[in-house]
Subunit: 293 residues, 4 copies
Amino acid sequence: MDQSPAEFPSNWGRWGDADQLGTVNLITAQARARGAAQVRTGLSVSLARETPAAPLFGGPMAALQADTTGVQTIMSFTGAAPMAMAELMLVTTHHPEVTHLDALSHMVVDGQVYPGIALAESSGPAGVVHGAADVFAGGIVTRGVLLDLAPGGKLADGHAVTADDLEAAAERAGVVVESGDALVVRAGWDRVPDHGRALPGMTSGAVRWMHEREISIYAGDIGDASPPVKDDVPGALHRLGLLRLGLVLIDGARAEELAAVCAEQGRHTFLFVAAVPRILGTTGLPVNPLAVF
Amino acid sequence: MDQSPAEFPSNWGRWGDADQLGTVNLITAQARARGAAQVRTGLSVSLARETPAAPLFGGPMAALQADTTGVQTIMSFTGAAPMAMAELMLVTTHHPEVTHLDALSHMVVDGQVYPGIALAESSGPAGVVHGAADVFAGGIVTRGVLLDLAPGGKLADGHAVTADDLEAAAERAGVVVESGDALVVRAGWDRVPDHGRALPGMTSGAVRWMHEREISIYAGDIGDASPPVKDDVPGALHRLGLLRLGLVLIDGARAEELAAVCAEQGRHTFLFVAAVPRILGTTGLPVNPLAVF
Amino acid sequence: MDQSPAEFPSNWGRWGDADQLGTVNLITAQARARGAAQVRTGLSVSLARETPAAPLFGGPMAALQADTTGVQTIMSFTGAAPMAMAELMLVTTHHPEVTHLDALSHMVVDGQVYPGIALAESSGPAGVVHGAADVFAGGIVTRGVLLDLAPGGKLADGHAVTADDLEAAAERAGVVVESGDALVVRAGWDRVPDHGRALPGMTSGAVRWMHEREISIYAGDIGDASPPVKDDVPGALHRLGLLRLGLVLIDGARAEELAAVCAEQGRHTFLFVAAVPRILGTTGLPVNPLAVF
Amino acid sequence: MDQSPAEFPSNWGRWGDADQLGTVNLITAQARARGAAQVRTGLSVSLARETPAAPLFGGPMAALQADTTGVQTIMSFTGAAPMAMAELMLVTTHHPEVTHLDALSHMVVDGQVYPGIALAESSGPAGVVHGAADVFAGGIVTRGVLLDLAPGGKLADGHAVTADDLEAAAERAGVVVESGDALVVRAGWDRVPDHGRALPGMTSGAVRWMHEREISIYAGDIGDASPPVKDDVPGALHRLGLLRLGLVLIDGARAEELAAVCAEQGRHTFLFVAAVPRILGTTGLPVNPLAVF
């Protein structure tokens, strides 16, 4: 494992000093066409986890205890009798129970964000001006590859995922990961029912592998381990991947249904389509990536 | 124009008494495959309008006047020095400046929602239990067709769009709209710079045309006229389309870039992909529909 | 106990058809002066319970389980390095864990609010136009009386408080409750540590006693019983007191410290001062009533 | 005017290294009794400005332009037919249009807050642990003095208020400001109708005068000038008063009605009562201070 972040590869400057796209730059016309070639029936599978919306209200209806969730809603009174129903929705974007895309402005080191931009030139009280999530609003469309780390089951508690684990999963899938591919990782985990248990996650070696394979985006049902992997850079996926490599991350994805469909279809590749809402100036946005077959 | 809503066609019961999908039921395997066949290069175009996020803060930084927006954010303090940036996001889902999908629970008539469900069995203080937006979270994937009502320009103020207008646009595009297609309508309008002017919109005749053509979903840069079309059912797209037909609507779409790309590509058809965030139990959700070529 | 709400007294019309103050009308110059006469040292005691503010944030910091609370906050990033700290605060006004004043627009029966105003003329989507909490923003200042229902202890689970209970407490306190007095009730309960247990509360007979004694405002650490009192009007304090009598209520008060100070001072009367924030058009507002000695 | 903040007096350490009350420490039993002696009739006057609550909703009801306000609300749907009305309230505490108390954790200099506490020991993502607004929830009760800087009118645009201005107002009022008094300042300004004009404000000399007179709390319809006073410490009331002196501030107060009542009553002194909602761990809270006569 990489214990010295200083020696870890960096993409700062690789696509210019003002780059906002990071590894999404790797999605060339060729990579995209490789994705397009995956589409046959139009069957789609969601890679988002279900996020319950906690209702906000008082009075005798108010709950006194609750699981927390990244989304809260309040149903709006539109008059009596109501002619329409609507709600206000509060989203704590980076909550682990919301499938969301991390923009490159999300992580900070020594007052800088990818690719060496001063924090003050990236984010302020009024929002993000450089490296916001909406730079991806045109759609991230490329070939997707499912790497299932625990086919039919669940990765062991606290497992530190290595490059070899990823490589082995690719071999099982019969896939060669190519430059610009979207990586979808399944470990069989889900934050909600599992809280209290040690969440598996990526080692810095695994992140290095992603760098070498030139993946464009990472979407997994696991990401960084919690508690952190011992004797390794803590939060390697975010602090090495996102911050140094400009690796675009989708946190809190789900791949249970995808794994089932891949098995049915006899292939682990598909068209990966991710379209964040076109809301400007944020460090992240909820997203529902689709695998289209 | 249809002046008597009672005589307007209805889909209540067409797909069962407990249906939640409405016209999305029209997306058969055949319709989806017709969409899949549109994909060649993987080029994607967003159909979402840009939604600025208004910052929420006080002190000397507080603005005293502002355009309103459907999204407000507050950048979160994560400690000093910050290691990450994040925000809370407040979304007023059905605000006209947010491109969003209307669930079938959104509109109410005489205490009922589509397809004849009592309001109390659809929505309550805790959210939506029948007809929520997340029923579409698996992805709406079908062939999309762009009908441009004002190629290269802008529809006249307050224009009442008829079936003939839609038919003429289809002819100009050289397209036959087929059962299960997604309809993308461009009128060259955008709410924000145009406020104060009479927004064009659909007549009940246009909605009847959509019913006859069996479109599965409507996404337009216009929807219902404001003020309402004279001598017609007010809010025909929502009150006849969504409520009686179960026509799934995407409000506040944009088609400027799509029109340009269609012109370049020499075709007005594409794969339409819409994936709402998988947030449960709401009457609507922000969405960024993509046209994939 | 009163089992027939129809025979329960009503103040609808007593202070005019458009009244917004309800029983606060009973605070005459004489009642107020009686309060003023209580002030000697200026010692003040808060009657508000402590409301923790639940932080709203995501990432590794997000909690996955929590007690709910009526107030949530998010600390605002004001730049790096920060020159000021500030937060956004979300208040679900009528949450039982927030000490708050109920405006007379809060309760509805058969489409009407006190004193017989149609709901549509009181509240709409844009807020309250008749009977809002801010009508009390000039300050509610009168004599306060503490009735301790369980001196030194805690009222039995689910106890149904009767007129006799109140009368007995007044006798123990050596006080005659007079027209325009504010009633502060202590039962030794606090919602938070007690959830799951049967909360004591007022019977309709107790509310009738308040009517006969002409109290101007009720502030208690208990209010309506939960579950409701058997064989009585459910929610008598809110549905008979607030709705029919226009009795202004302060929900979720605390009287532990007040009871201690009253014992020390050898008197159960004081100047009662309640000043809601001057926020316009709401059905309720957080408040911190003071007893001034 | 004081141009060198370094030479400006400081109260850091005066009441201990862990003090959270600042100048409120000056409210001794004697000062409080001086306040109590002001109470005769119980007549109360609010010192809070009216804060409209902007409604949050979408659809055809959504406004596209608005004055901003520090409070937004959304009326809650409690079912059809509704049995109660309630709302969610969003408060951007330090917004100039909300009368609010600034806690001593609000202002930061060189990573420290009053009285020399490291920012990280005062505020974090989860809220304030040292110097929160709720330390004043027991009630601030003392003698209040109205200093009217522009009797019957309005202070000139951008006027820089000096110690002499305050002294002259005290003389006009026939009052000697004493240790522990609450200072209420009227300049005849209100942010809302006046935006775009130069707001008058306190000079560092005026703040020094407050220090010498040992006032316990400042509530004014003006505070710091905007734009800042030329050739003086910018934001003197907040950066010298609150931060160095621990001077507790109430921003956005109103004194129009108070001035009228003082004139009627023939006195400029009264009992000052301020009770913030007992919400824990914030940098500020809405408040409605009362003058009781």
